[in-house]
């Protein structure tokens, strides 16, 4: 027995040591996967993602998957020709390649959703390039071919309805790129005045020195990752810190305004302007103090001199033998104004799925907090959050007492973005109405989401089925919300769509939304034309109008004779307005706006069960007919610079380039070259492109960074098996010992 005990003691000693060693190994192993998942921080300049861009920016590809180095913007010139409510915008921007390499870059420019891009012109180095519209895949093939040949080429593609990208191949070290795009937009008519906003927005975040960056959300930490705030919120320079000797980002703005009526007040909300009124009733607007830094949106408003001027604007354009009409008609402002505010029941639904991670979640939280703070004690409300699960703050809507609001606010502040996006149960819960016959209160569902979903059709069906007396107000969060979903959901839900692009917009947009929520609505709108005159009208049917919104429609007509009648109903009051088509004034770009509306309607036909191939065919035809960039068509640039004579190497040609006839890059071309900060980026970070055939050294390519593709499966299984084997042997030897 004594011997046995000694044996046992020595045995356990050895076993114990072994166990400790194995446990340490196992612990180390468990940490391994975590450690492997954590990406090491790099030294280098600040890179950005496409989703963070909300201004025109030229981005140089880097090896970091999906991350780009912004090229410094040297000068910007904006030129607007305003004809009635139609705005033809020309944006000319000059960038420089801050690196010592031949690069490929992407030029990103966000647009208002209604705008139609139909022209691209570029000057790269000494080459002039003009874009032409082609079927999307054909355009990409053309671009690829040119790039492989070392030619300068560019390609404008629609990424989303409101986001376009231009790829630019073969930009030499330190080369200057001038990009000019043209598009249409429509001024919004509200509160008796036209308003037009051009985003200039944020200062570019180019090359703050020596700041670390981390690889963000697509890394192994996946949806949980909320990247550092400083990466998402670009550093805004304090006005006092602006350099005084030169403007960092000079923007020159010129607008020619032909409103179609005697002009009253013309104002710019954020900039000091010089307004030069001409004898022919038009006006020319320029910046009073010359170029300004690009740190605020340019917002121009104008109103008729006579406030009694009929609030209707009709414009026609003859294009390829057809007549296109644009009509904006504002119902009289006094209609429904004396209707008292009605108590409301408002259900807020907030999306906290993984796709909202980062800035979007902060915007959504800020928007919901602003909205909750606007509730009045006689209102009722509830808050629902959803990812792939769903949670309600109160079982049913409750009175908006300070305690209840405080509880909802605390709930909102705690929300984090994680998980999948399962919207249907939350939508159904929000539309479930315990008192469907309650005429006392209006019931509104405010839905905050980025709309990153794929089952739109199912959701639309649910909205149509369960809407009842509720009204749905989608609030689009993030720089690129699914606007098709939102607009369509708003139309089906008979509400309005509010887009919030930045945290700074939250207050103003939520205010506007609540103002709309508090006034009655104009319904059953219809437009009547003379017999046989109308061939197509978009949108169809006309959507309901909230307070201050005009009826805006585009139509294709066989001629411009007779009258157009617009009718609608508001708070049991009928509204009818007769407009003479012969008095419509000529406008430009109306056919393009018509095509844009038609494409949008075609895209939405998908939710009504149209077949994708039919939709695609119709969209392609429309886009090619009207020269528009769309989901299926792209602008591809062809080199228009005369071919270089034989025998003269391109490198020796340093004659200053002359712009082709009819090209006007304005002052941007001569803009004083601001001292360009060299990008302090390690060569290894840039995704080099092959150099042009005519010269320059092609840098070695680094290519795509590949993900980690190993699991500790075998190691874990082997080690586990080994441990179990040891334990088993031990137990068996112990049993034998007992047998002795």
């Amino acid at each position: 027995m004594a011997a046995a005990r000694t044996h046992s003691s020595v045995g356990s000693q050895a076993w114990f040591g072994l166990t400790l060693a194995l446990a340490a190994l196992a612990a180390a192993l468990m940490l391994w996967s975590e450690a492997a998942a954590d990406e090491a921080p790099h030294d280098g300049p600040e890179l950005v993602r496409l989703s963070e861009i909300n201004e025109g920016a030229l981005l140089i590809r880097t090896v970091e998957h999906g991350q780009y180095l912004p090229a410094p913007m040297v000068a910007t010139e904006l030129d607007f020709t305003i004809n009635g409510p139609v705005i033809r915008a020309t944006v000319t921007q000059r960038f420089e390649n801050p690196t010592d390499a031949w690069v490929e870059a992407i030029y990103v420019f966000p647009m208002p959703e209604d705008s139609g891009v139909d022209r691209l012109r570029m000057q790269i180095g000494d080459r002039f390039i003009e874009g032409e519209i082609q079927e999307r895949q054909q355009a990409r093939r053309t671009y690829e071919a040119a790039r492989r040949n070392g030619q300068r080429a560019s390609l404008v593609e629609q990424e989303r309805p409101n986001m376009f990208t231009t790829s630019v191949a073969n930009i030499g070290p330190g080369e200057t790129i001038i990009i000019q795009i043209e598009y249409q937009d429509v001024a919004r008519f509200a509160d008796g005045r036209f308003q037009f906003r051009q985003p200039l927005g944020l200062t570019p975040r180019y090359v703050p020195q020596g700041r670390d960056y981390h690889l963000a959300a697509t890394g192994a930490r996946g949806n949980r990752a909320v990247p550092d705030a400083h990466r998402i919120t670009p550093p805004l320079l304090h006005p006092a810190a602006e350099p005084t000797d030169q403007l960092r980002l000079p923007v020159a703005i010129t607008a020619r305004l032909d409103a179609g009526f005697a002009l009253g007040e013309i104002a710019s909300l954020h900039h000091a302007t010089l307004v030069e009124r001409r004898d022919d009733g038009t006006a020319r607007i320029t910046l009073a103090d010359g170029p300004v830094p690009a740190n605020r949106d340019f917002v121009l408003t104008w109103r008729p001199e006579d406030p009694e001027t009929p609030s209707a604007a009709l414009f026609v354009e003859e294009w390829e033998g057809e007549t296109y009409l644009l009509a904006q008609v504002l119902p009289p402002a006094e209609m429904g104004a004396d209707t008292p505010r009605r108590a409301r029941e408002t259900i807020f639904v907030i999306d906290n799925s993984g796709s909202m991670a980062g800035a979007s979640m902060r915007q959504a939280r800020a928007a919901l907090i602003t909205a909750l703070q606007r509730l009045e004690p006689e209102d009722r409300f509830n808050v629902i959050r959803f990812d792939n699960t769903m949670e309600q703050v109160f079982p049913t809507a409750v009175d908006a007492t300070p305690q209840a609001v405080a509880r909802a606010l605390a709930f909102t502040r705690r929300l984090d973005a994680d998980g999948g996006t399962v919207m249907l149960p939350a939508l159904n819960a929000a539309l479930r109405d315990p008192n469907p016959e309650d005429a006392e209160r209006v019931r509104q569902v405010v839905f905050l989401t980025d709309g990153a979903i794929g089952n739109e059709a199912e959701l639309f069906a649910a909205i149509e089925r369960n809407l009842g007396r509720s009204r749905l107000f989608p609030v689009g969060i993030g720089s690129a919300p699914n606007t098709y979903f939102m607009n369509r959901a708003a139309r089906l839900g008979r509400g309005t769509f509010t887009g919030i692009g930045q945290v700074s917009d939250v207050e103003a947009r939520i205010d506007a939304l609540f103002t709309a929520l508090e006034r009655p609505v104009m319904t059953n709108l219809d437009a009547l034309f003379p017999e046989g005159a109308l061939s197509e009208i978009w949108p169809a049917p006309l959507p309901d109008l909230y307070h201050g919104e005009p009826v805006t429609l585009t139509a294709r007509l066989s001629g411009r004779d007779g009258v157009m009648i617009i009718e609608g109903e508001m708070a049991d009051e009928a509204w009818r307005e007769t407009l003479s088509l012969t008095e419509a004034r000529p406008g430009r770009g109306i056919a393009a706006l018509f095509a844009r509306n038609r494409i949008r309607a075609l895209e939405e036909a998908r939710f009504q069960g149209a077949r994708q191939v039919d939709i695609d065919a119709a969209i392609l035809e429309t886009a090619l007919d009207f020269d528009l960039v769309s989901r299926l068509t792209s602008l591809v640039a062809v080199d228009v610079t005369p071919a270089r004579p034989d025998g003269i190497p391109l490198a020796s040609r340093d004659v200053p380039a002359m712009a082709p006839d009819g090209w006007d890059f304005g002052r941007v071309r001569e803009a004083e070259a601001a001292p360009v900060q060299r990008a302090d980026i390690a060569a290894g970070h840039l995704a080099y492109r092959s150099a042009p055939a005519s010269g320059g050294q092609a840098a070695a390519s680094n290519g795509l960074a590949l993900p980690a593709t190993a699991t500790p499966r075998e190691l874990l299984m082997g080690l586990g098996g080994l441990l179990m084997l040891f334990a088993l042997i031990w137990l068996m030897t112990r049993r034998e010992e007992r047998l002795w």
Binding site: A26, R141, E144, T218, L704, T711, G721, M724
Partner: protein, 202 residues
Amino acid sequence: MVIALSRQFSRFRLPGPRLVALGLMATGLVLFAQGAWLGVKADIAQVLLAQSWTRAIDGESASTPWPWADFRPVARLSVPSLGEHAIILSDGGAEALAFGPALLDASARPGEPGVSVIAAHRDTHFAFLEAVRPGDLIVLEQAGEAPLRYRVTGMDVVDAERSGIEPGIGPARLALVTCWPFGSLVPGPDRYVVWAEPAARL
């Protein structure tokens, strides 16, 4: 220290060693299960994915395989000569890779000019890459489109950070990527790339 501790243990003769042995057994089991789970998860996921893929082919626009997944099946890859197939996912970050091969966001859409890069784990979905040889047929099916047929043209071992793969350049090609060397227990910087070109062009 160890000796002192084990002396202490030997005083509680009966429960001590037995408990340690059972503890060891449990630890082993947990480790083994963790490892096995990675494999099982990969296999179960493919079954669920196959179902959502069938739904996708039937025209359901966005069929996530399970409610909390933030990725979708985008294609089905098969290697007839090896009898292997897998459902390819949209690239939802590293998370998607646990469930199936992923078509990297940065890469070209299969069939369009450029390189379509599909990555997967070497010890689960892409273990079969080791057996792939030049000339093998690879078939890639996408919802609503004719299957794309590729021939394997060669293999490469590259560094993950300097792969030399330019997704935006050149004609349509396919690159299947996994970790290298196969059978290694620890992760490394090397990646194994199987290149394939559309069969019609060969």
